[in-house]
């Protein structure tokens, strides 16, 4: 069973790696962020697979943190389209 899980993890790594092509091609930042998103989720899945295959359950925590912060980059991306934003205008005192 461990062998099977390792092979799956390797295949998953290849798939997320292929997804990186979207980061290189773009064209919009949203597309690139999707590739990052895929790496985040894929990475989490890989961590879970390796954790189960090797019996090192501590690695599940890595997947936990990856999953917890998976949406973080996407949130940060929406912090602002450079130049077009007008967020804080006159919100002073």
């Amino acid at each position: 069973m461990a062998e099977f899980l390792y092979v799956t993890a390797a295949l998953l790594l290849l798939l997320t790696g292929l997804g990186l092509a979207r980061m290189l091609w773009g064209p919009s930042p949203a597309d690139r962020m999707m590739a990052a998103q895929l790496v985040g989720t894929g990475g989490g899945a890989i961590a879970l697979l390796i954790a189960t295959a090797s019996g090192a359950t501590a690695m599940i925590d890595v997947a936990l943190v990856l999953a917890l912060l998976a949406a973080f980059a996407a949130v940060a991306l929406s912090l602002g389209e450079p130049g077009t934003q007008q967020r804080d205008g006159g919100a002073n005192s």
Partner: protein, 97 residues
């Protein structure tokens, strides 16, 4: 019993892998941002969910199993929110209502 568990694992994890494959292919091949986003969420939701489902019978203790489920729930939440946010960002001509 163990055989059944192993069969379930192999079936579910393979199915999960298939959805990741579909997600990646969609991400690479679909013509515009929003359709690609659609493909990505398939990998997030179904792919990850099926892999977690497949790993559950293999988890050595209850705590690890629970953590697996929590990870899955978090990925669901994060995936759904992130795809909404990315979609809003992509269609920045008309910001969210």
């Amino acid at each position: 019993m163990s055989l059944m568990a192993d069969t379930l694992t192999i079936a579910a994890v393979s199915a999960g892998l298939f959805f990741f494959l579909a997600g990646t292919v969609g991400l690479l091949r679909f013509p515009d941002t929003l359709t690609r986003l659609h493909a990505l969420t398939k990998a997030d939701n179904l792919g990850f969910g099926l892999i977690v489902l497949g790993l559950l019978p293999q988890s050595p203790d209850v705590a690890s199993g629970l953590k697996l489920v929590v990870v899955w729930l978090l990925v669901q939440l994060a995936g759904a929110s992130a795809s909404q946010l990315i979609a809003q960002f992509a269609s920045k001509g008309g910001p969210s209502a």
